[in-house]
């Protein structure tokens, strides 16, 4: 008990120390709120590790604009309300120069009103379109949107001559936002949604929903919109039921873990994802090749873990900020914001970023590659 009290006191004094106002020659303070634990941990964890790794790397290389970087990270435990509180702490108490993060859309949207009011650059690592549509002055994002994923999949379907899609989405924020965007953009792409089922993130069996889908005449493909372990269970269940329809996943499973968990059942699954995941097989002339291979090597070297696109989003966010600071020549928030908005031709793990006053993400469909799992490996489908 006494020990616990001591650690609590230590933490308290730490908090108090952090309250000392920043001096002029102080490091550039990078704040981040990530879901390092909780249901979204498999996204937030690589993000947190990436930030930690690259802040160290940048500092080892002499920092940015002659100043060291200092990273302040909080774990919201995948709870959007906590993200809101930590954002306040970053803004008011830690007085950071930029906020990276919001692993999930919920956490991001919880922080948006705060950063808009505090007028501080904010680069989100979450997927949904709502983050940048409508455009919010101080809010940017690095990952591809769920709408882009849907559009990429629709394009691939049409190429293969299919128009009828059975949708199975997760009841998580990611899945439901994806479901909404998929349904919304289907008509325009000439795709008909013939089934609209959901499953819970912690479900251990999804055969009931799949049996229903199996019974629907005319379905030509299945799209699963979810994150983490759920899609792996769905994939196994599809194999078990002997459903032979082409199977699409979202960019939410673009990590080695998905293949590992699904095993042989993942053969032939297609999904849109960033080039990062197929770094090794990219043609040498691909503009992203040096960036993605460099990041992949650094990440797996440092953490002995397979690289995922999620960590890449954090890399992109950090580098876009650093790039903007260099161009602006200052950490003045308004000037850096303008510089971020003026980002052009920035090559990140997610693609080539071209931001503008109306586009705070700056990625187009070319940033997405259609991948297919062959022989337990990610391969380029086109």
């Amino acid at each position: 008990m006494q020990k616990v009290v001591k650690t609590a006191l230590a933490a308290l004094s730490f908090t108090a120390m952090a309250a000392v106002p920043a001096l002029a020659a102080d490091p550039i303070k990078i704040g981040s709120v990530l879901s390092a634990t909780g249901p979204a941990a498999f996204l937030g964890d690589p993000e947190a590790k990436t930030l930690q790794l690259y802040v160290e790397k940048l500092n080892a290389a002499g920092g940015v604009a002659g100043r060291k970087l200092e990273l302040v990270t909080y774990d919201d435990g995948s709870d959007a309300a906590k993200a809101n509180g930590f954002a306040k702490r970053l803004i008011e108490d830690d007085k950071v120069d930029v906020i990276l993060g919001g692993t999930t859309t919920g956490a991001t949207m919880g922080m948006v009103p705060l950063v808009e009011k505090a007028e501080i650059p904010f680069i989100s690592l979450a997927g949904a379109v709502v983050i940048v549509e409508p455009v919010k002055k101080w809010v940017f994002k690095t990952p591809h949107t769920d709408r882009m994923a849907a559009e990429k999949i629709f394009a691939d379907m049409k190429k293969r001559g299919m128009t009828k899609l059975a949708l199975l989405s997760e009841t998580s924020g990611f899945g439901q936002s994806g479901r909404k965007e998929t349904i919304a953009s289907a008509a325009k792409a000439g795709i008909e949604i013939v089934a609209d089922e959901t499953y819970g993130p912690k479900d251990t069996d999804v055969t009931a929903q799949l049996t229903k889908i199996k019974g629907i005449a005319g379905a030509q493909a299945i799209l699963v919109f979810g994150l983490g372990q759920g899609p792996a269970i769905v994939t196994k269940n599809i194999a078990q039921l002997g459903i032979k329809l082409p199977h699409y996943e979202s960019h939410g499973v673009a990590s080695e873990e998905y293949i590992k968990l699904s095993g042989a059942a993942a053969e032939g699954v297609r999904l849109p994802a960033a080039a990062l995941i197929v770094a090794d097989t990219l043609p040498a002339n691909d503009p992203q090749k040096p960036v993605v291979t460099g990041y992949a090597k650094a990440y797996s070297g440092a953490f002995k873990a397979e690289v995922s696109t999620f960590g890449g989003h954090a890399y992109d966010a950090l580098m876009i900020y650093v790039d903007a600071v260099k161009r602006a020549g200052t950490t003045d928030k308004a000037k850096v914001r303008d510089a971020i908005e003026a980002t052009k031709g920035f090559v990140g793990t997610g693609g080539v970023v071209n931001m503008s006053a109306t586009d705070h993400m700056g990625l187009d469909l070319s940033a997405f590659r259609m991948l297919e799992i062959k022989g337990g490996k990610w391969t380029l489908a086109d």
Binding site: E197, T198, G200, D205, T207, A208, Q240, L261, G263, A264
Partner: protein, 290 residues
Amino acid sequence: MSQFLQLLFSGLTVGATYALAALGFSMIYNASGVINFAQGEFIMLGGMVAAVLTAAGIPLPLAVLAAIVVVALVGLLVEKLAIEPARDADITSIIIITIGVSMIVRGVVEVTLGKGGRALPHFSGETPIAIGGATLLPQSLWVMAVTAVVVAALALFFGRTRVGKGILATAHNRLAAQLVGVDVKKVLLASFGLAAALGAVGGVLIAPIATTSYDAGLMLGLKGFVAATFGGLGSGVGAIAGGLLLGLIETMTAGYLSSSYKDAVPFVLVLVILVVRPRGLFGLGPSERV
């Protein structure tokens, strides 16, 4: 028809795992009157330990056995360190303690074994068995068969052995059991070890189908609690029936009604059952009026 059969298979597979979870709840409830909110973590721990060991190259049967032993030891430890010192606390405090224990177990697994999901190899391959237009994984047969064996073994244990009878007697009347020479302390310890081992068995069986991760325990635990309540807390038959029923209700709801509300339906039903039969379907005991 084949759709119904498919849903039936899925329901029974899921239901069997719920039944194992519910049995764990009931066993501890019987011996101590405690609802162990950490039961789900025992299930998670079983799956995780086995998955980590197989990934490290240890043969599956050995890994499974080791996982069950490890989790049983954890169960004993939990009883010794957290439950026994608080024997006289009231229900609310004990619920908080078990919730605290579940956080500790989850946190330790998170820190030591990582946050990623893990899968365990299927015990006998992944080639589905086709029956009447529906398919069934060999692993599902494992789940159902082992559940049946466990139930039979438990029946023998409680009916024939001294320790088993002691647990039953303690459940019935702690004081009386003490008077006839049952060592109530040992009974409590044994019931936690046994319940943890049961949880591990469930976790190991379901891990190939459902995969597992450090945070898989909470939902499984809640489902087990629902199943145990369905059948009536403390009733072995009730736990089995409640588990299977819960699994069937979930899959049938997802298959025929709405997959969005399949998780809500069991909770609505459990409320209805509690209103109609305040002690669950198979719950016994006199109505408490005094």
